[in-house]
């Protein structure tokens, strides 16, 4: 029971960290502190959390335009994520990237990308490095339902399959790509079923249930480390905010749908389940929550107070530079 309590609170802490950071970022966006785009992960926290809980710093994560949650779950400090969106030197990409280009290779966050697709191939490449150098490391790609219709999905999954690479492909199926519904964009909306075309396991999981994600990801990662090849893990989930901050709910999805998914909030679900299983109750969760809230406030303060980079920094690192 102890172990489970630890796990539950650890998962909750990560989800809360993502949630509260995102909400802070959304406010900051309104306040003009975020200079470019800002795609939040609110509602989908269970996915990154459940998957990354299994990863060490040697494992690498490749992500998308909606990458704050992956960065935080992989261990990028909150202040560095926020500072990056605020365009500051403290940012994990030193202000070069913003929301869609978060880099922290030191902890295995190998980059989020403003282009849909490439993370799938890059995670496959990380798997190849692992195989060649026998490091036991796993490459993980997070991507959306939208990306699953892209050619990169087909090529990446097949390559990982035939080379039996230690890769986990996590499709975050939130049913929309910007405002285009998956039911319009795909002949078959069950992405996990495509795994059969590559002869690899395809698993569907409730992406709002962090324990379910944790368990399924655990199996897949064990499989990967054992040299048995990649897995496609489809997490059915939902973003409860707009596609990108500043946009409006223009009517492309029903209000009832949004409400129904909000009722299945992953943080709330975890609380309920822990209560049901008598692992812990609101007081424990609330304590974690407010400790995280304090961290977020402090991180935000640190981020806003950190300086902007110098203009001339824009010109370095185009090519390899011998480090001093």
């Amino acid at each position: 029971m102890e172990a489970e309590l630890d796990l539950v609170l650890r998962l909750y802490r990560t989800m809360a960290a993502i949630r509260l950071t995102e909400e802070r970022l959304a406010q900051s966006h309104q306040a003009g502190l975020v200079h470019g785009a800002c795609h939040t992960y609110v509602g989908e926290e269970a996915v990154a959390t459940g998957v990354c809980a299994h990863l060490t710093m040697r494992d690498s994560v490749f992500s998308t335009h909606r990458g704050h949650g992956h960065a935080l779950a992989k261990g990028v400090p909150m202040a560095e994520v926020m500072a990056e969106l605020y365009g500051r030197e403290l940012g994990c990409s030193q202000g070069r990237g913003g929301s869609m280009h978060l880099f922290k290779p030191e902890v295995g966050l190998m980059g989020t990308s403003g282009i849909v697709g490439p993370c799938i191939l890059q995670a496959t490449g990380a798997g190849y490095s692992s195989k060649l150098m026998k490091t036991g490391a796993v490459g993980v790609a997070f991507f959306g339902d939208g990306a699953s219709n892209n050619g990169a999905f087909h090529e990446g999954l097949n390559l990982a399959a035939i080379y039996k690479l230690p890769v986990l492909f996590v499709c975050e199926n939130n049913m929309y790509a910007t405002e285009v519904p998956m039911s319009y964009a795909a002949g078959n909306t069950d992405v996990y079923m495509r795994a059969a075309g590559y002869n690899i396991p395809g698993i569907k999981v409730d992406g709002n249930n962090v324990l379910a994600v944790y368990e399924a990801a655990g199996t897949a990662i064990k499989r990967a480390r054992a040299g048995e090849g990649p897995t496609l893990l489809e997490c059915k989930t939902y973003r409860t905010r707009v596609h990108a901050e500043g946009m409006k709910e223009s009517g492309y999805r029903p209000m009832e749908e949004i409400a129904a998914w909000k009722a299945r909030d992953p943080l709330k679900l975890l609380r309920e389940q822990a209560m049901r299983d008598e692992i812990c109750g609101d007081p424990e969760f609330d304590e974690v929550h407010s400790s995280v809230a304090g961290q977020v406030a402090a991180a935000h303060k640190q981020a806003v107070e950190s300086p902007y980079p110098e203009g001339r920094d824009a010109l370095s690192h185009v090519y390899y530079e011998v480090q001093a």
Partner: protein
């Protein structure tokens, strides 16, 4: 004349041509009911329906390849690709198929495809939403490459694109989308390969591309007060590229500067410099100079971003230096 934004002017061209020609259809992400990420197709779905305003999955290569096949079989696709960075995934379809199809079929197939969308640095869009790449496309035989600066040019050149039979890259700098300007009431199609003299002058010729035209015009006003009279030329299309107009101007001024946000190496400025030297060497009182965006990926943070784009100051300095040379 009426006053329209750049995007509204282009949209007017599109809707007028769609009314005239039932074979035109538009494809892209969110260009259906949503009306496009930049309102490029706002209102058209209601007029023309979902087959002619067709939303797509995120398959840039796929729908560009589809457009090639559609054009080969008698329809006119307009691909609304949002950001030029995204169509790099479709470069094979553009360069190996679209650009070559008329040639390989000895003209028995035509290739009336318009690929339209945003280019340019600005607004902290960072490196995956700020490519320019028109120089690359100008390096490919078979493509037409259009980079309008004013609303009137956006409309007139879009019409030419929609009435022609060649594949056209129609590239709209993101900083221009909401700029306003006069647009003729009449049906004007502006031919490709004819530069626009955006400002007359006699001390120095400045060729500027897309958004830099407006920046150079501002600088020219300032320099006028210093007694430097700047002639500003907007090529409008970079393939074909109207060097006659540029050389004619140089005949008058003896000096030329190219101001371009895009990368210098093998860029439009290089091509202009080479052509001017080839055909107007004896007219030149000084070498043709280039002022380009820095040769780096686009950084996000505003203080970084602003450094890599030619500023008004840098432009003014470059012009002053050139006049003195």
């Amino acid at each position: 004349m009426k006053e329209l934004t750049y995007t509204a002017a282009a949209r007017e061209a599109l809707t007028e041509e769609m009314a005239r020609d039932a074979t035109i259809f538009v494809m892209g992400e969110g260009i259906g009911k949503r009306g496009g990420n930049f309102n490029t197709t706002a209102g058209l779905f209601d007029l023309y329906g979902g087959v002619r305003l067709c939303d797509t999955p995120i398959t840039e290569r796929g729908f560009i390849g589809l457009a090639v096949g559609a054009a080969m079989t008698g329809t006119r696709p307009v691909i609304d690709f949002m950001f030029v960075d995204f169509i790099l995934d479709g470069m094979g379809e553009i360069m190996n198929q679209m650009a070559k199809m008329q040639y390989m079929s000895s003209g028995r197939l035509t290739m009336p495809v318009v690929l339209r969308g945003c280019i340019g640095i600005g607004g902290a869009s960072a490196t995956h939403h700020s490519g320019n790449y028109y120089a690359m496309f100008a390096n490919v035989p078979g493509l037409r490459v259009v980079v309008p600066t004013t609303p009137a040019d956006a409309k007139g050149l879009f019409k030419t694109a929609l009435r022609g039979y060649d594949p056209v890259l129609f590239l709209e700098h993101k900083s221009l989308l909401n700029t306003k300007g006069p647009v003729p009431e009449e049906d004007v199609a502006i031919p490709f390969g004819v530069a626009r003299i955006a400002r007359e002058g006699h001390s120095v010729t400045v060729v500027a591309l897309t958004v830099m035209v407006n920046r150079v015009l501002q600088v020219a006003d300032t320099l006028e007060k210093e007694g430097i009279s700047v002639e500003v030329i907007d090529p409008r299309t970079v393939s074909p590229l109207d060097t006659d107009t540029i050389c004619a101007s140089i005949k008058k001024t003896g000096r030329a500067l190219v101001v371009d946000e895009a990368f210098a190496p093998c860029g439009i400025g290089a091509e202009i410099a080479a052509r001017v030297m080839e055909t107007a060497f004896d007219e030149l009182d000084a070498p043709v100079r280039r002022l380009n965006g820095a040769f780096v990926p686009t950084p996000y943070s505003p203080p970084l971003e602003s450094v890599i784009v030619p500023s008004n100051d840098a432009i003014a300095t470059a012009i002053r230096d050139l006049v003195r040379e």
